[in-house]
Symmetry: C2
Subunit: 116 residues, 2 copies
């Protein structure tokens, strides 16, 4: 059993190509002994975004705070605001963009631990 | 790609033995085609709780709203409030209890999809 407050988890900048104004925290990781799942939290500043990319595993996302969109290949930009869940399937192109001028967009992202 | 607002997801009562004042939503389920993960959301009313139980898979939890505790076998009651993450490992006894007199405790619970 581990309980941790998000505000106490170390935050580091996402320096992937195509990312802008984004940072990452890992509240629950493979190093905690979880057999299957890991969870990351991305904070995207106003004007910021994650890379527009794809990968061979799924995401489960939840917006803790803020207003944004998910950019998709086939459905255009989908609203993704506080209180919304998203499922990104393996190999789907996707990007999270903050559309607020003032607030961060804070997104939980659960993945199979192999892809932490 | 699926995006859904939590407030639009059907909510149904948890009628497991040992549960009180708890309801469940499943924003992302195996039926959405996710290869590995499913996510449920439990809303626990003031005075309510989930069962004190264990199972052979892990939980990843996040408190969206409210104030509560996780009851554990070896560590007593751990505070579990809005903004906190928890990892429940396989076979660990656990129970979520709402400790507020007024607010619901709303908890995301990601699991391997086999245990949805």
């Amino acid at each position: 059993m581990k309980v941790v407050s998000l505000e106490k988890v170390e935050k580091f900048k996402v320096d992937m190509e195509g990312a802008k104004g984004a940072s990452k925290q890992i509240p629950i990781s493979a190093s905690d002994g979880t057999p299957a799942l890991s969870v990351r939290v991305f904070t995207i500043e106003p004007g910021g975004h994650t890379p527009y990319h794809q990968h061979p595993f799924e995401h489960l996302n939840y917006a803790i705070e803020g207003q944004g969109v998910v950019v998709t290949e086939n459905k255009g930009e989908l609203q993704f605001n506080k209180g919304d869940f998203a499922l990104v399937l393996p190999n789907e192109m996707h990007q999270y963009r903050n559309t607020s001028e003032h607030e961060p967009l804070v997104v939980i992202c659960a993945v199979p631990k192999e892809y932490e």
